[in-house]
Symmetry: C2
Subunit: 346 residues, 2 copies
């Protein structure tokens, strides 16, 4: 009893005309009388005709769909980026399909393959880390072989030269450190994660470079890593750090979520943020203004990043651009709230 979907052929039978005529009528092509056309169109609407993608796709018609593969939908920042993407894809008449890789490379590879199979017209990918370099190579070869244009967002893939839109995390870190120095902090640690993404690495490298520049020597041991950037794992790591040393006055967190975990840990041992220890985050999460201690953090324009990525992708899809391009956007700066205290000069 399964509802058989309306097809061009069935309508052709219904009207006693050829499939070509139905197709022409529905697509507004010449060669059909106005009278017949309107009868056909009315019938199609009344019966909720939706063209079969497979039939169309096989004819090589662009379906105007772009696939987005992000690393973690639970991260509120992506929401802005996705909005940015949607604003431009809407403008060009494209639809988006969103997949989350959950920062798992196997999931990512699977989702990308599904998108290739589904013949999306292009992809925007936030690449995850591949511990298995052969699998990574495999995936990108498949992607290239598919001929589907794609743009990387936020993170680059080491050793590969693809289109890319991201912020300059080195500069972002420098902004954070400069801000802390301005507030007279000198002993600063960086709490980040074990992931080997360019974002993580750049923010850590930026931290070390800025410390080097300011103090003449960067201390690798001041960089701490929790397994993944969650509140709970950051909390645990911070507890551990506080057990080992308390000679620092400020924590520069990899992102706001990590900062939340750090703050939770500091408060839990009876210390105050920012009176005892200052914390600065990165990303300007929606919750940062209303978190336990409203968070001072480095802000980047996520909406703009999404827009740019989509623009480049559409240029590629529609043949307006051939050469690969990398867009590196500067962070907007430090948003001041109340998690950093100005110290007296020592």
């Amino acid at each position: 009893m399964k509802n058989k979907r309306l097809t061009i052929k069935s309508m052709a039978d219904e009207f006693g005309v050829s499939t070509a005529t139905i197709s022409h009528a529905l697509n507004g092509l010449p060669g059909v009388s106005e009278e017949l056309r309107s009868r056909i169109v009315d019938y199609a609407n009344k019966n909720h005709y939706i063209p079969n993608t497979f039939g169309r796709g096989l004819k090589g018609i662009a379906l105007k769909v772009i696939g987005i593969v992000i690393s973690d939908i639970s991260n509120a920042n992506y929401y802005c980026q996705i909005n940015g993407i949607e604003s431009v894809s809407d403008r060009f008449g494209y639809n988006n399909i969103l997949c989350s890789s959950d920062d798992n490379w196997q999931t990512e590879a699977a989702k990308i393959k599904v998108l290739i199979e589904k013949n999306v017209d292009g992809m925007i990918i936030v690449p995850t880390e591949y511990p298995d370099k052969i699998a990574e190579k495999e995936l990108y070869q498949t992607l290239e072989a598919s001929g589907i244009p794609f743009v990387l967002m936020n993170r680059l893939v080491y050793g590969r030269n693809y289109d890319l839109v991201k912020t300059d995390n080195l500069i972002g870190s420098e902004m954070a450190i400069n801000y802390l120095f301005q507030k007279n902090h000198r002993r600063i640690i960086h709490l980040t994660t074990d992931q080997n993404t360019s974002t993580v690495n750049d923010r850590a490298a930026g931290f070390l470079a800025a410390m080097e520049k300011r103090t003449g020597h960067a201390i690798e041991q001041d960089v701490y890593r929790c397994e993944r950037p969650t509140v709970d794992l950051a909390y645990e790591k911070m507890i551990q750090i506080l057990g080992e040393r308390q000679d620092f006055t400020a924590v520069f967190a990899y992102n706001d979520t990590v900062a939340f975990g750090a703050i939770k840990a500091i408060l839990s041992i009876g210390k105050s943020v920012p009176d005892d220890i200052s914390v600065i985050g990165y990303d300007d999460n929606v919750f940062s203004p209303i978190s336990q201690v409203p968070l001072t953090t480095v802000r980047q324009d996520n909406y703009y990043i999404g827009e740019k990525a989509a623009e480049i992708l559409l240029d590629k899809i529609e043949g307006r651009r051939k050469k690969t391009i990398k867009i590196i956007i500067n962070p907007e700066g430090v948003i001041e709230r109340s998690s950093v205290k100005k110290l007296d000069i020592v």
Copy 2:
């Protein structure tokens, strides 16, 4: 120079055999010598062959894809539900495509139509409110005509009898009110939103019913609505309320995000939460434990909801279930944190 994708036909030419042989080899069907099969399979792997969905789809082969249309990807709660869905769809070998309607009915209708066009095997939908009832009818007729099974999640569509998985928001509200009464609160207001979804309506109705039960009379005027459930809009509304009256001791918020806005407003006029005014939320957001005032809130098992929705959908897709089913899950209860104070008995 666009990379032509590898096709069965091109491989048939390459090997000097028929397309049937290639297809059999690749699909592990009998009728091909082991020697030839392995040469073909090797060649396909080496050249990153990915079968063309359009060709397969046209043959009526299930692609094992389910479409998820949620109302708001920025809402962290959906993340758990999506995880629940993925856990079961993974188990059955299905992939997910995620779309966000942004709580906009036109967007929702557009995305659903794209999913129908793409011939997904099923959908899980968190339906938004349609001010235009004709458009709503239109959409659901199209959906039914498509023959694609779907399950509603979280919210029902008024006047329609579809498969559904949701929690009992009436009971959730009652839990919140009971908890507040236990803490000796008697004068309670409800801050919710203008949206006409079943979730909003049920939580408000639950509030009024519980108040009626406890006090003998429910006061419609104790229900306040901001336009949409965002921190900022809830903040504004709460500021306005506080300007009009301060005769209540507790606020029951529609969800945690609204609660955050309410708390922000109360603090901003120099009052304390919970010492002056208590606030209870709903949803148990990831940020609720670490918000400005750690939030006491009603918790529901979102992962389980996602799982159930996916299970029902897959039963429908694979023909194990015919009749429509509604699963109404009880909320887990109130999670106690520090935004509600126990009052002295008056």
